[in-house]
Symmetry: C2
Subunit: 490 residues, 2 copies
């Protein structure tokens, strides 16, 4: 059964990741533009499904979309000291435009806190203008030398939320509210069971007081930061003079937040669910839910099978499903099966002349229990009640993927109390989610990273349910207030 | 009644346009970034409605979305001779990135034919890969010194369709198909009755064999090019080596098309429908369909009125409408009315204690017949059947705006046969849609432009129903095969 052109995970995980993307035609390295990628239609359709769900959640929590300039004056980036330090090495700079050298260069936005801060200062005057809750769907640019499709590219697509509030408390509520929106989207739609927590000072966003994060476990035990939500305090308010008159008539700086997720989420999907046969997608973000493959030997049978396939597809589409009928000529059913499996279509329906007689269809899920011959089990579904049965199976598949990912994560989480044990977990390029005590200093964090390549992924939020009792740092033995999450990361 | 802070059209049309945008909070000039704009939430929501409708139409005609790099190697732009000539003066150039000078500069895409041509050459191999039907929603950059919000900005948002075909005939069918998609969207959704035609050689897209266009008439009689669809022939195929093996096994260059509309459409909406009181929007692209304004004198009345307003809003939302209840404090109903009128909300519902008793609501459309006191007529709608009645009135308003725009256009179209008459139409900065004969040469077109500032907007497609009989050029007296459309343009 090893017909797969995809490198097995056990052999080379990084190559497997590239192979899955290539064979599902999700994206490719642009090559001619350093560090950039092209997102192909099948990959972009996943991003559209992600966008649609998140956009609905953002609007339901009172946010409105807007569009700010792609270019930012270089002087803006320099106004917030930590911000420029964090982003300067990654900037792409426009020095020439409209046939002339520019007096002041522009940078292509690596993120938009600065330019949005500028406009907030024009729009906000009174406490009545607050809170101001804005989101932007955009492309951003952070120059990268080592490209990894979806995970690390010079240009990527994302959304960036930017909000301004009259009190710090309201701003920190917003930071956590949007982290929960991300969490819910990832659990419910992407079937990626992320953990919510706070970043260490070292991993904080450049210019923030605090960064919260949702961290997912990939199949190799590494962590992927799936989204972040920042408490910006009054840092950008002070840099860009964003002030409001409070109810007492005094001028105050606003309290700001920002939060974002990117096309990196497609990387998270791949590394959470896919297997050695290719892409696996949860139905809620699958660009195609069901593929119908017509089967026939003689040309005389073809028209009848095609007609029945179209009718089945139409019925399922009426139920709101996205259905493809694969009528490609000169391609055998088996080749079509592999093709759609590699593209991660959750359900395949096979339809031949015999099925027509029985008014039935053969159903095969993308991941199925194996039969006695080691092949994925199929089942016969009747045309009557097909919509209901298909819907049930897709819902169950969504749930199955989440449960499987959660079981995998739990099986690879360990509490570690000694440095020997800690080093052993991360030896030989391996990684797990390690819950260990840490003295809270950047010095220790960096020492641990030097020794093991593992870093503090997050300090879990209270309701994540992890051990919050005190202890001693796994590296220094100094006091620690709670266990934190260590892992190697992407 | 002249409470409007908006400059009347008759006084200064350009200032009126800016005032409408400012008071509806649609967008503003970025200032700090040359020629760029910020699209504010109320303006961006219109763009989202446009996107949603167009995207549905693109997908229904078999197109898929993808994402190509923002940056294009300078050498790519130079590969198609006419293309570089057309775009070179407007390019923004990245010369420095990641802390280093680049060996080869990149330009920020002014349009993506070149970079997409490059990827098409990688993806297309056989006639089985054709047609390839791709669309991209993106930002593009064309450096402008004279900014006009939505109409002419350095950065703008658009969609660009790019397709490849095995025959020229199939490509030209696609060019016209997508022009019709644009036409239908503009008539049915934007209520902008555009005319379909072909561009003169002089106005053609840089690198195309033919450009088709949809032209709308603005309220000052000028034309606005609302969208274009290009037959690229094999020009980019040859420049980027995009070849396929035909059914006979021979290698051929593909035939390509591209087509686009942009945020300029918001400019078209404004200049087609809005009035001296501010923005007017067709319900199908309005970010808010109905605003409910609660009216009360005593605080005791407030809770009851708010509750009834919320209930009405909820009922209308269940019918799929976007409804706002204006509960702002410290603002009188009259001020709220003006505010929402300036924002172009099609329908206002006023709800006070007396209406509660009568289980009714006062309805006022954004544009209404005047009563004997010169005020817009209102009517009483009962809570029972409110959804149906509101729906009817919004549909009627959509139709009214289209009919009004069409009547205006027809009233300002003239057939002209003498040069004196032609010059007179365009004298004193005025413009109409003039149907006149033209000898078909660029030389004459430029002479006419020099004399009157009017240009050939398009040669109408046959089924537009304009006089297609032969005649003599209005300027040179040379033979002409049909009348063409002249106007000043934006």
């Amino acid at each position: 059964m090893s017909k797969s052109p995809i490198t097995p995970r056990a052999e080379d995980y990084a190559q497997w990741f590239q192979d899955v993307i290539a064979h599902a035609q999700l994206a490719e390295v642009a090559g001619v533009v350093k560090g950039c990628m092209v997102i192909r239609p099948h990959g972009y359709a996943i991003w559209e499904a992600v966008q649609q769900d998140l956009d609905r959640r953002f609007k339901a929590t009172g946010h409105k979309n807007a569009c700010f300039p792609l270019l930012i004056p270089m002087s803006f980036i320099k106004k917030e000291a930590e911000h420029v330090e964090g982003f300067a090495p990654e900037l792409a700079v426009v020095t020439h435009a409209g046939g002339k050298d520019l007096e002041e260069p522009y940078v292509i936005r690596p993120t938009s806190e600065t330019i949005i801060g500028h406009f907030f200062s024009r729009w906000i005057d009174s406490h009545r203008d607050l809170p101001l809750l804005i989101n932007q769907w955009a492309n951003v640019m952070r120059w990268e030398l080592r490209t990894r499709l979806f995970l690390r590219t010079s240009e990527f697509l994302w959304q960036e939320g930017h909000t301004a509030h009259s009190t710090h408390e309201e701003a920190t509520d917003e930071v956590e509210r949007m982290l929960r929106v991300y969490r819910d989207h990832m659990w419910e739609v992407l079937a990626v069971p992320v953990i919510c927590g706070v970043k260490s000072a070292h991993e904080r966003f450049a210019g923030a007081l605090e960064t919260q994060t949702v961290e997912g476990m990939m199949q190799d035990g590494r962590a992927l930061q799936c989204g972040t939500s920042h408490d910006l305090g009054q840092n950008f308010g002070k840099a860009f003079d964003v002030m409001f008159q409070n109810e007492e008539g005094e001028r105050e700086y606003v309290w700001q937040t920002s939060w974002g997720v990117s096309t990196r989420l497609i990387g998270a999907l791949i590394m959470t669910h896919s297997d050695d046969e290719g892409l696996v997608l949860p139905p809620r973000v699958a660009p195609i839910h069901v593929v119908v493959v017509p089967i026939f030997r003689k040309t005389e049978e073809r028209d009848e099978v095609f007609a029945a396939a179209d009718k089945i597809a139409e019925g399922l589409r009426d139920d709101g499903l996205i259905v493809e009928v694969d009528k490609r000529e000169g391609m055998k059913p088996g080749a079509k099966y592999f093709d759609w499996e590699r593209k991660g279509v959750p359900m395949r329906l096979e339809l031949g002349p015999r099925d027509l007689e029985q008014k039935a269809v053969m159903c095969k899920m993308r991941i199925a229990e194996l039969d006695e011959r080691g092949r994925g089990k199929k089942e016969i579904l009747s045309w009557e009640s097909l919509g209901v049965e298909v819907g049930k199976r897709l819902d169950a598949f969504q749930e199955f993927l989440l449960e499987r990912a959660l079981s995998f994560r739990k099986a690879n989480e360990v509490e570690v109390d000694t440095w020997e044990e800690f080093e052993a977990v991360f030896a030989n390029g391996q990684s797990k989610f390690v819950w260990a005590h840490w003295d809270g200093t950047t010095e220790t964090e960096l020492a641990i990273k030097d020794a093991t390549k593992a870093t503090v992924r997050c300090i879990p939020l209270e309701d994540e349910g992890y051990d919050a009792s005190e202890g001693k740092c796994v590296k220094t033995g100094k006091p620690s207030t709670q266990r934190v999450l260590f892992a190697k990361n992407y």
